[in-house]
């Protein structure tokens, strides 16, 4: 049950959403990459909870399975074999999926009213019923997360289990994680927890350990603890400084209002023309499409009309 009152941002909508409930605590999922063993229980739990099943794919030579996010796989483990400067192998396994940005590029880009919403607790959710399948959210996303289904042409991604969170539960992936790599709580609590983990990693020799909560998208509600926070690109191309594509701003800020105005002016001009000049007089013998072979419909009715108008005055005279 998602209370509409708690929606703080809505795609393609100019009216201000309700904002009086300021005491809603922001939630966050913390993924401690250093504790992940790549078991993929989170992938399975995600599919089970959300009633989605991906097709059995093909091994591409890595442990990535499925090899990429799809409309049926809203989270995937991305495995990277990294050789560190000391010559040792580090197996970096990152759980990929929606980051639930505070300033979501997908929502900014979306032209369908209400198809993408953001709740006061920070979750960015897709209301697929309203999705028009244009794919702008894919362009708008700095993390390349949403996927358009080939079956129904709608966009899908992780919901942070908004249905579970709305009734006070943690997301399915968080609950199932056997190593405790994925944790869930208020954003503040998760930042404190992450700081502790970073201290621990630094004590174990990972000098560059840090929290991934990129400011370029206003911070995220899915955060990582990375052993190499200075090089997030090591983790299967995690962007170092993600930002919403300037194309989104150009479309929403310039092109769309301009074109809307032109459309509006055209419609208004048409209306004025109608009021001042009146409708165009209709010729009686109008062309008809799609009715070939039906004699009655194509019949010329001018004669009948003329007869009717002649008859009327005659009746009046009789009276």
């Amino acid at each position: 049950m998602t209370n509409p009152q708690n929606i703080v941002r809505r795609s393609a909508t100019t009216t201000t959403p309700p904002r009086v409930r300021e005491e809603v605590e922001e939630v966050a999922k913390l993924i401690d990459v250093s504790k992940c063993i790549g078991c993929k229980a989170c992938q399975v739990a995600c599919m089970e909870w959300n009633d989605i099943r991906d097709e059995v794919g093909i091994v591409d030579g890595t442990y990535n399975n499925p090899t990429d996010l799809t409309e049926h796989s809203w989270t995937v483990m991305r495995f990277t074999e990294h050789e560190n400067p000391a010559g040792d192998l580090e197996w970096l396994i990152r759980k990929d999926g929606c980051m639930h940005c505070a300033e979501p590029g997908c929502l900014e880009a979306c032209p369908a009213p209400g198809a993408i919403v953001q709740y006061a607790n920070g979750i960015v959710d897709f209301d697929s019923d309203k999705c028009i399948g244009c794919g702008y959210c894919v362009t708008g996303c700095p993390f390349d997360i949403p996927r358009i289904s080939k079956h129904d042409s709608k966009s899908y991604k992780c919901t942070l289990c908004s249905d579970r969170v709305s009734v006070g539960l943690e997301p399915a992936c968080v609950k199932t994680c056997p190593t405790g790599c994925i944790e869930f709580g208020s954003k503040d609590a998760m930042l404190i927890r992450a700081a502790k983990r970073v201290d621990d990693l630094k004590a174990r020799g990972f000098d560059q350990a840090g929290i991934y909560d990129p400011a370029g998208v206003g911070g995220t509600h899915v955060m990582y603890v990375l052993h190499h926070a200075d090089e997030p690109g090591l983790y299967a191309g995690l962007p170092k400084d993600p930002r919403i594509s300037p194309l989104v701003g150009a479309w929403k800020g310039v092109t769309k209002p301009l074109m809307s105005a032109i459309l509006g002016i055209t419609a208004f001009a048409g209306f004025i023309h109608y009021v001042t000049k009146g409708p165009k007089e209709e010729p009686a013998d109008e062309e008809v499409f799609g009715a070939e072979g039906e004699e009655g419909y194509l019949r010329d009715t001018r004669g009948e009309e003329a007869a009717a108008t002649v008859r009327d005055p005659a009746k009046e005279e009789e009276r």
Partner: protein
Amino acid sequence: MSIRVTRRGFFKLGAAGVASSSMAMMGFAPEAAAASVRQFKLTHTRETRNICTYCSVGCGVLIYSRGDAAKNAHQQIIHIEGDPDHPVSRGALCPKGAGLLDYVKSPSRLRFPEVREPGTSEWKRISWDEALTRIARHIKTDRDANFVTTDEQGNTVNHWATTGFLAASASSNESGYLTHKVVRSLGMVAFDNQARV
């Protein structure tokens, strides 16, 4: 059936479409305010405790079924997740456990006792009563024939070495204790369970 559209009508329809879509674009969307993404799917389901069937860790699971167990409602398992109150797993499940729902619903799952009679290659379905009776009969016959009370030196051993017992993985301490009592009281010595998997 063909739809008759006059040329004028077609233009009118097109103009109306453009006008309404541009209105919607400018924020006059004729749409209900209620926004509901996905309802919580377990609200009135029945919750049943169990233990994961797979390995010897024996993680606790919660099985959710549709229907409130009223006499006319046929329950159906719709979701399985970890049991947060279980001391072993505290809600966590590995990928096998997290996918238990598909294990339950698997088309290749064994749902009833079957027997392959000697000399045949066909599996034949039998009832639970029949299965238990047959197993009891085999146990009794074999035990009567091979039970050893004393060894060569005349020591009392009371053992039965020709039949073994393989117990399940998903046993609590209590069920493990009971299994042990049943098996050992028969004198059976070959006794293992799936805890080694």
